[in-house]
Amino acid sequence: MSATRIRREALSLDEVIQIVARPEAGAIATFLGVVRNMNDGRAVSLLEYEAYGTMAEAELQRILEELEREIPGVRVAATHRIGALHVGDVAVACAASAPHRGEAFRACRELIDRIKARLPIWKREHGPDGPYWVGWEDARCTPDHGEHEHHAHAHHAHDEKR
């Protein structure tokens, strides 16, 4: 494992491409998640990302190992930025290589989906109504409401990076 993958510095797509590139790979699929100017109809000027750093590194490592186990011939890499990000800044960079494009696209898609579902990273939006944690108020339920699985709300609201 190389330098920390969760970091405050600007991300480089080239870096993750270089990690997965190899002679057997005829395809490299990449994904960049970029801060955009609107979320849920609200203007966004600044996103503050924070991570549970040690766990985020460990969970990302687990995701990378899983995918390379699940999809034969695939190699994957990703980095995630934290700190204060502005519109247009790259928040996450992913790359997947494979002998052919089908597996490369599939692995890249799985990679970003698992990162979004599992890395312990949060963002605080700063817009006209003041700061708030993305996804937190959506998570509010009536006490002992019962039927919701853990985390059931986390996926629907903010798919802003696609």
């Binding site: 998640g33 990302y49 924070e50 991570a51 549970y52 040690t54 766990m55 985020a56 460990a58 969970e59 687990r62 995630h80 928040a91 996450v92 970003i112 990162i115 979004k116 579902a117 599992r118 890395l119 312990p120 990273i121 949060w122 963002k123 605080r124 944690w133 993305v134 996804g135 937190w136 959506d138 998570a139 509010r140 339920c141 009536t142 006490p143 409401h145 919701h148 853990h150 985390h151 059931a152 709300h153 986390a154 903010h158 990076k161």
Partner: protein, 83 residues
């Protein structure tokens, strides 16, 4: 000397607890689910969010029945929003 865990809270959960880290008493070994219940009892403002909070023990997501022991690092993980 009583048994404790190191309790970490992030994002919205940290705002509710008023601290990013605290020492939380552990009367006896318990499950991750039970620990979350104890934390909610001490911080009732967390109750409405309880079902959305996942528990991590020593840096990995814990199943509800996973055991928590004295000295563990336990984290409250609100809905994540990376990417």
């Amino acid at each position: 000397m009583s048994n404790t865990v190191r309790l970490l809270a992030f994002a919205g959960a940290r705002d509710v607890l008023g601290a990013s880290e605290l020492v939380f008493p552990l009367d006896a070994p318990c499950t991750a689910e039970e620990l979350l219940h104890h934390v909610c009892s001490r911080f009732p403002a967390l109750v409405p969010y309880r079902r959305s909070i996942r528990v991590a023990v020593n840096g990995a997501y814990a199943g509800p029945d996973e055991e928590v022991r004295s000295g563990d690092e336990v984290a409250l993980i609100p809905p994540v929003a990376g990417g």
